[in-house]
Symmetry: C2
Subunit: 333 residues, 2 copies
């Protein structure tokens, strides 16, 4: 195990401590439990709060997107494990500025269970909540079951847009509608080349023979739709991008935002080799890339691999992407 860690059982608490020590101007722990982080100025009176959360091991997801123009707070689980309902509820209380709270997180059973329980607790305290699930992984379910899809890197777009809507003073209904609209127009597919090693068990998160790739892999190593010998970057993009274009129904003249996301161990250079091909494929179809993001936005510890996300754009979505935002891991404007 080639990890720079101390006691594996302390891994999450220690990296959260590091984040807090590094960014006291941007983040704070509202109570006694450091597994709950909120933006330093939370709660913001009169504005909708946005709470996200999920398992650890995906930095900058989820804690990285807490800040002005993004999420308001996060509940932090153990590696690849949901936070507790109590933690989600405490985050909810800490960010509620009187205008209600949106729950925006990836569609995984444990998370759904705990966020739903937290919503019940919030209701008892007269805090109104809405829930929008990231479900952008097109390989996880066919289009006719798209509401069952898992959430992966494309949730970044929903954070950015919903965060901007909350910041400008939209109501809870409006912020939820913005998030839902962006989720509806986002599609992601990933490829895995090597597993991550879980810190506590020291076991690989999945098995993949050397020299093979898994197309459509999930962010925790969930099985994809094709396994075979590793192909070239162009061949990989040629598998992923048309599937996304078809899923979103993109046509000549459409505009998109592109996210080429590294899973952890894959160098930035390789992400740009992929981006080059994404650009070529979309240009050939008359689809314009209006905004692009290339880097590590949602990882799986040291997994080698990448994902490509497309967000179909209209003027409203584009304006929300361009709104100012500031967190320890993301800055716009």
């Amino acid at each position: 195990m080639k990890k720079i860690i101390n006691d594996p059982a302390a891994f999450v608490d220690e990296f959260v401590d590091g984040i807090l020590l590094a960014h006291p101007d941007l983040l704070k722990v509202p109570g006694d439990d450091r597994r709950i982080l909120v933006r330093a100025d939370a709660p913001v009176a009169g504005k909708v709060g946005i709470v996200t959360g999920g398992g650890s091991g995906h930095l900058p997801l989820f804690k990285g997107y807490v800040g002005a123009g993004l999420c308001s707070g996060v509940a932090i689980g153990n590696v690849f494990s949901s936070p507790s309902s109590q933690q989600v509820f405490e985050a909810t209380q800490a960010v509620h500025g009187g205008a209600g709270v949106l729950y925006l997180y990836g569609n995984y059973g444990g998370d759904v269970f705990n966020f739903d329980l937290a919503a019940d607790l919030a209701e008892l305290e007269d805090i109104e909540t809405r829930t929008v699930l990231g479900r952008d992984d097109v390989a996880s379910q066919p289009k006719e079951r798209k509401t069952d899809r898992r959430g992966v890197a494309g949730i970044f777009f929903a954070y950015k847009a919903a965060g901007a809507a909350a910041e400008r003073g939209d109501s809870l209904e409006q912020v939820a509608a913005v998030a839902e609209d962006v989720v509806e127009h986002t599609a992601t597919m990933g490829i895995g080349l090597s597993p991550t090693i879980l810190p506590t068990t020291q076991q690989p998160s999945f098995d993949l023979p050397d020299g093979e790739m898994e197309i459509g892999i999930g962010i925790h190593g969930e099985p994809g739709i094709h396994r075979g010998p590793l192909e070239t970057a162009d061949a990989i993009a040629d598998r992923l991008v048309p599937a996304l274009v078809a899923d979103l129904g993109l046509a000549d003249g459409d505009r998109v935002a592109v996210l080429v996301n590294g899973m952890g161990a894959t160098p930035l250079e390789e992400l740009y080799v992929l981006y080059r091909r994404v650009h070529q494929i979309l240009a050939a179809q008359g689809v314009t890339i209006a905004r692009r993001y290339v880097g590590e936005y949602a990882t799986s510890l040291e997994m080698a691999g990448a994902s490509i996300s497309l967000l179909a754009l209209d003027d409203a979505r584009l304006a929300l992407l361009d709104a100012p935002a500031r967190s320890p891991f993301f800055q716009e404007g």
Copy 2:
């Protein structure tokens, strides 16, 4: 080889193409050779140009630091290989706005040879140049031979400060003095846990038995000062930080900027575990961390490992760190 690439011989050209396709608003190729990138508004009349460069495989180093408030241009070599003198010279011509050009790059033989030749070519064209070498790797040479040290991640601080000085209109002498001052007050040490695989040869960049670490490793896998069984994150920081503190002569009451840099495959979570300990060690000595940067700033493709850099701060250096800057990979203010 678990790489998302096409023809290994085309790797550099293809990722540079990807960068250009992604960031046409920030970067341009001034001539026919795409191995030379300059900021989109180069040359900036009346201001000092800054040219950097070196081998590929270190993104965001070097191309990532070309932009307003940073470097003006970059000459891009093959993986771990110097660019040619002609490429450096063309970058020099493209960024020369009438106020001369600073060469700011890491202290490696091939790079020094080619930048020096380019300086001769520039002189023939009446373009004045100065050279400042990044030489922050304290493990590469003892303090009494510090001018022979290699340059590693700490050059980020020199880019940031010299770029800010050029942007505010400092003369070539002044910009060079700023860069030299920052280099003089920067110290870095790294740890490697696994080698990178070179795309063309498919060979590891160095040998390191499984379960071992190399303290003081260079950015291309150059030997360090200690090899042994992998230790905990805290034990690693306890080896690195005191060496940096001693090298810089830091004392109670001093202020520093800290860069905890990932070499490629090491997750951001682990960098924050390291940062936590860096903070503890410095706090115990009365040294204040005034600014901190945690992430991938200078990599070695998919090498697992990290480095810690300290910059001793005074008010002038701090102001230069805080000045606005904008490149595809770095934004301040």
